[in-house]
Structure formats: structure tokens, C-alpha cells
């Protein structure tokens, strides 16, 4: 035990100075308690070096591509692709980092954002229609399959993926709209996607209907 004569208090542990006033302390009882009371926790350095390097490279790439275009002008505004490409990559990465632990959740967020990015790219590159024709239906279809397969492989319990599977199934129905409003030139991927999603949804409702109901009740309680 130590003693601070300024504060007139005993101090436990191995302190050399009084934690209250900062003066040196005297040892009054050397037998007992020469031990630390709290463990020394080393500082938690969070340097994030990899992240910093990636940010630096991304921003440099954008600056350099614009510089090159200014020095060697072209009719095609190609640096914009670098800009969008870097932006898309970071958005995807952010989703994975944010939603990290749960694979179905990551898949769901990816199928929410990738279609938006795809439509944006398609529109920026002269609207050839590939995003609605192929990418979105195939993406939704893939999401359903991947979600089911990973859930089975990683042995997720039903409650950990069922709501995400349900939402993915609902997304999968969206391509019906593409056909109804005649937004697509090649209808086959959209038709397949909508049909498979419908079957997928029916399976969920028939086999896990009560589960979905209680899960919805829980998640949507007001």
C-alpha cells in the first residue's frame, strides 16, 4: 500500500505517483499489495494502412486519368469511367465491410446497389439496354441460388437467412415490369428470372410460411 501525504489517502497497486494530485507517494506497507489492480491493456493501434494505400491509389488514378486526357485530348470522355469504376468498387467494398458477418445480408445489399450502378453505367454509355436485358435478371437469379446454396453449405439456421431470401425473391419478380412496359429487347432472361423467383417465393411460403409470419411480426412490430 502507498500513501499520498498531500491528499491524505492510501493508494493501492504499484503506482509511483498519486493519481489525484500527481505527487510522489510513500510506501507504508510493503508486504501487502505490490500487485497491479487493473491489467495493463496495450494501446490498440489502428493504422488502417491497407485502407489508406487503397484510398491514395484510387484518388491518384482519378487525378492522373483527367490529367492525361487534358494533355492528350480524345473525343471519348474516358476518365469518367475511371471515376465511376472507382466509385462502384468502393461502394461494393463499403457494403461488404459494413454488413460483413452475414452472407445473406451482403448478397441482399449487393443486389440492391448493383442494379442501380448498372443502370447508371448503361445510361452513361449510350443506353444499349444490356443492364435491363441481361444483367439485372441474371443477377437476381444468381442471388437466389447463391443465397440458398451458401445457407445450406454454411448450415445457417432458417431464421438467419429466411427474410433475406424472401426479399431476394421479391426483387426477382421485378423483371416482370420490364416485360410489361416493354423496356427490354431480349425478354428471355427477364421471363426466366421472374418465373424462378415466383417458384422460389412459393416454396418459401408453403414450407416456411408460419416462420415468415412470426419473423415478419418480430421485425415489423410497431
Amino acid at each position: 500500500m502507498k500513501y499520498c501525504s498531500t491528499c491524505k489517502v492510501s493508494i493501492r497497486g504499484t503506482k509511483e505517483r498519486c493519481v489525484l494530485c500527481g505527487n510522489t507517494v510513500t510506501t507504508i506497507d510493503s508486504k501487502s499489495e505490490a500487485e497491479e489492480i487493473f491489467p495493463a491493456v496495450p494501446p490498440y493501434y489502428k493504422s488502417n494502412m491497407a485502407m489508406r494505400i487503397m484510398i491514395f491509389i484510387s484518388l491518384s488514378a482519378i487525378v492522373i486519368s483527367y490529367t492525361i486526357r487534358m494533355l492528350f485530348p480524345t473525343t471519348l470522355n474516358w476518365p469518367i469511367f475511371v471515376l465511376f469504376g472507382v466509385g462502384s468498387a468502393w461502394l461494393s467494398l463499403a457494403i461488404i465491410i459494413q454488413k460483413g458477418k452475414s452472407i445473406p445480408k451482403v448478397i441482399l445489399w449487393q443486389v440492391t446497389f448493383i442494379p442501380l450502378l448498372a443502370v447508371f453505367w448503361d445510361w452513361q454509355t449510350g443506353w444499349r439496354g444490356w443492364s435491363l436485358d441481361y444483367l439485372i435478371p441474371i443477377l437476381y437469379l444468381a442471388a437466389e441460388v447463391v443465397m440458398y446454396v451458401t445457407a445450406k453449405i454454411t448450415k445457417l439456421s432458417v431464421r438467419d437467412y429466411i427474410s433475406y431470401a424472401l426479399l431476394a425473391g421479391i426483387f426477382g419478380i421485378i423483371p416482370i415490369l420490364f416485360i410489361l412496359f416493354e423496356w427490354v429487347k431480349t425478354p428471355y432472361p427477364s421471363i426466366t428470372c421472374a418465373a424462378v423467383s415466383l417458384i422460389f417465393l412459393m416454396a418459401i411460403f408453403i414450407f416456411q410460411g408460419s416462420y415468415i409470419k412470426s419473423e415478419l411480426k418480430k421485425r415489423m412490430h410497431i
Binding site: 489517502v9 493519481v19 489525484l20 487493473f38 416462420y211 418480430k218
Partner: protein, 424 residues
């Protein structure tokens, strides 16, 4: 697809709704209840004691999840593991990234720590768990000696433990509606303690352990109770470290009140309210005697049944508002954060006495003391007692220790013997 058993879940009780919204790495809303024994803790025995304790506290198996409109608690099959203390005091528990249990049990040398995310329970709820844990630990360790000792005072059923007492005691009376309306205008901006933040937002904790009797004797010299006396000395310490230009601002302390004493409840979840104790040093004399008299009056006025009912009404009526209920969770979180921030401007600090911890008297030879501390945004005082040991802990996010120094020096000048423990 395999059929699965339906999962149990529960809404959050009133105050719990605030914590997931206001959580941040700076203030993870975690509090720690520690029990220091005279001998080193044995890990495997503590683990077994924890396993036994968990059987009687199903609430502690719940994890926090996000819904569309509210957070909710959901039962899980995660088994809590005892570990040696390796993280800073009151390190974050809920981070939103993983689904984990909302408490952790660790040990270091002679000390057992129970750290808890405030969503799960308040201090009084945590004490029940801690008592059961320590009881099980000591009875396992000294099987023969404590063969026929029982833990008294825990006779509640599981459903009583899970009770949302706020809603059960809510009476939506018109009278309260009007009282609430009349009360609004009186709030004033309180003095804000400033300082340099510690590195990595670690908590600076200084605990003073002292004999209960000496403190009560000193309090009785002023005709005050222990809580009133400590609160007054704390107010005085804040005043002493206040910069001159702020002296016209009042110092306002919030004091959580355990509502279980006023409303019938056995809940293991949150059931507390807060009262305000204020003192303006610009308008009143700055000697301890005057402060104590004013603090005692404040306590007496605030702890009336009517006032507490009003507090309960105010707290519950917000969450019952149909418009508020329909807001999506992120929007709710935003408004809760804004409301808490504006509420914080009216308070200087927080002082909390979770009271006397009672265990069978035979355990006196094995338990040195109990202490409680909490993660904070501004310096806060917490205290609890066991037998004749009162432990007053001041947690602070700042490097400065002037308030702590003044506080403990004032007590030691009054002739109270103090043992200081600190993580600094």
C-alpha cells in the same frame, strides 16, 4: 427446409430504446459491476458458476436485433465464456456488427467483473445477477463450508424478471398530460465540464474505498443521509474546479432512481427514472452546509410519488405516440440522438448510488468489496456498498483529475480513511 422451433423475442422496455441509438465508441453505454475477493479467482469454477447462474436468468441469453421500426431482443443459444480481463474498462459490447450476448464476465486476479450493455438491465438488475454469480462461485469453491446456505431475496418468477414494468405501471392520465405541459419552460442550460479526452476514448476510473460508518457519521453531522452528503460533496468538487466565467451557470446533477422501490416490480430489466439535483453557486452560498440543505430539499421534492408518476408518464407517452411509432428505425435513432443531446445540455453530471449489496453474512470473510462504474461522456459518480465498505467510483472521459482530487481530499479532510484504486 427443416422446420425450426419458434424463437422467443421481446420488445425493448422504455429506457432501453435510448441506448442502441445513442451508443458510440466514445460512450458504449456499458457499465461494470465488480466484486473483489480476498483470494485469486479460479477460472473454471467461475465458468461453472456462470453456467448455473444463466439457468435462472433467461434474459441474459438474449441478443439485440434491428427491426424495421424498433430494436428488439431475441433469445439465442450462445453460451457465455468467462475470460481473463484483457480490454479497457467498460469496452464496447454491442457494436451492431456481430450478434453477441449483451454482457461479459471477466476476472483479473482477485476481481470478478460483470460488464453489461445498458439495454439489458440497470444497476439493480445487474446486482441480482452478480449476487447469484458470486453466491454460486463461493458455494462451488467451498462446497462443504457453505453446504446449507441459500441466497435470500430472489423469489421472482421468470415472467416477473422479463416484465416491462414501465408499460405495466403506465397510467395515461390527463392530469399528467397537463403537468408535463406546465413543466417544460423551466429548463436552464447547465454548466458543462470540459477537459482533454483520454487516448483511444479509454475510461479514466478512480475509485475510493472507505468505511460506510465513517461516511454516515460525517453525514449525520449535517443531518443528512449518505447519498445527500456524497452528492453535496460532489457538487462542491465540481464547483471548485469550475472556471470563473462559468460560475453563473447552475450545476445540475441527474440521479437515476430505482423505481422498484416505488412501484411493485421484480423485473431484471431496466426500471429506473431520473431526478434532477441543481445548485446555483452564483445565487447561493458556497459552503457545504448550505449545499447539503438544498440537495436534501431537492431529493425530498423529487422523490414524491406524484413526481415519479409524472416522470414515468413522460417517458412512456413518447414511445406510445402513434406517429413516433411509425417512423423507420434509422429516423427514430436520429431523433432520439437529437433529443438526448439537447437534454444533455441541461445536465452537468450524473450521480448514482446503487445501494447496499446484500449476501449471506458468512461470505464476509471472502469478499473484500463491490464496486460499480460506467462508461461516460462527462465525469460521473457511481457508488455501492457491501458490509462496511463503501466504494465511490468517479469515471471520466478526461485526463484531468481535479474533480476527483477535490472530492476525495474533501472526504479525507473530514477524517474518512480512503483507499484509492485507479486504472490510470
Amino acid at each position: 427446409m427443416r422446420h425450426q422451433e419458434e424463437v422467443k423475442w421481446s420488445r425493448l422496455d422504455n429506457y432501453s430504446k435510448v441506448f442502441p441509438a445513442t451508443w458510440s465508441p466514445k460512450d458504449p453505454k456499458v457499465f461494470r459491476l465488480s466484486c473483489e475477493l480476498f483470494e485469486a479467482v479460479e477460472e473454471d469454477v467461475l465458468q461453472r458458476a456462470l453456467d448455473i447462474t444463466m439457468e435462472n436468468f433467461p434474459l441474459y441469453r438474449y441478443v439485440l436485433r434491428r427491426g424495421l421500426f424498433w430494436y428488439y431482443l431475441e433469445s439465442s443459444d450462445i453460451v457465455p465464456k468467462v475470460e481473463q480481463e484483457s480490454q479497457p474498462v467498460c469496452a464496447p459490447i454491442y457494436t451492431g456488427l456481430r450478434t453477441n450476448l449483451l454482457f461479459r464476465v471477466s476476472y483479473y486476479k482477485c476481481r470478478v467483473n460483470l460488464e453489461m450493455f445498458h439495454v439489458l438491465s440497470d444497476g439493480a438488475g445487474a446486482i441480482r445477477f452478480m449476487r447469484a454469480l458470486v453466491f454460486n462461485y463461493l458455494t462451488l469453491l467451498y462446497r462443504e463450508r457453505f453446504a446449507d446456505i441459500a441466497l435470500s431475496g430472489d423469489t421472482s418468477s421468470i415472467s416477473e424478471q422479463m416484465d416491462d414494468s414501465y408499460n405495466r405501471h403506465y397510467i395515461g392520465k390527463k392530469a399528467f398530460r397537463e403537468m408535463a405541459r406546465n413543466e417544460k419552460a423551466q429548463r436552464v442550460k447547465a454548466y458543462k465540464i470540459r477537459g482533454t479526452r483520454t487516448d483511444e476514448y479509454r475510461l479514466s476510473l478512480i475509485e475510493g474505498s472507505m468505511p460506510v460508518k465513517a461516511v454516515i457519521d460525517e453525514a449525520h453531522k449535517y443531518n443528512a443521509t449518505l447519498t445527500v452528503y456524497i452528492t453535496s460533496v460532489y457538487l462542491y468538487s465540481i464547483y471548485k474546479t469550475m472556471p470563473g466565467r462559468n460560475r453563473n451557470q447552475p450545476i445540475v446533477l441527474t440521479v437515476p432512481v430505482n423505481l422498484r422501490q416505488f412501484f411493485e416490480s421484480q423485473t431484471a430489466r431496466n426500471f429506473f427514472s431520473t431526478i434532477h439535483i441543481g445548485y446555483n453557486f452564483a445565487k447561493n452560498p458556497d459552503d457545504l452546509e448550505h449545499i447539503i440543505r438544498s440537495v436534501a430539499d431537492d431529493f425530498q421534492n423529487s422523490l414524491k410519488a406524484e413526481k415519479l408518476n409524472l416522470q414515468l408518464y413522460k417517458a412512456v407517452s413518447v414511445e406510445r405516440n402513434p406517429f413516433a411509432r411509425l417512423l423507420p428505425l434509422p429516423v427514430k435513432d436520429f431523433f432520439i440522438r437529437a433529443a438526448v443531446k439537447s437534454y444533455d445540455r441541461h445536465t452537468t453530471s450524473n450521480i448514482s448510488n446503487i445501494g447496499k449489496i446484500e449476501l449471506p453474512p458468512e461470505f464476509g470473510d471472502y469478499i473484500r468489496e463491490f464496486s460499480i462504474c460506467t462508461s461516460v461522456r462527462k465525469p460521473q459518480l457511481t457508488m455501492c456498498s457491501y458490509n462496511d465498505r463503501l466504494v465511490v467510483s468517479i469515471s471520466s472521459p478526461f485526463k484531468e483529475t481535479d474533480i476527483q482530487r477535490t472530492f476525495f481530499q474533501t472526504l479525507s479532510k473530514a477524517g474518512i480513511e480512503i483507499e484509492i484504486t485507479s486504472n490510470l
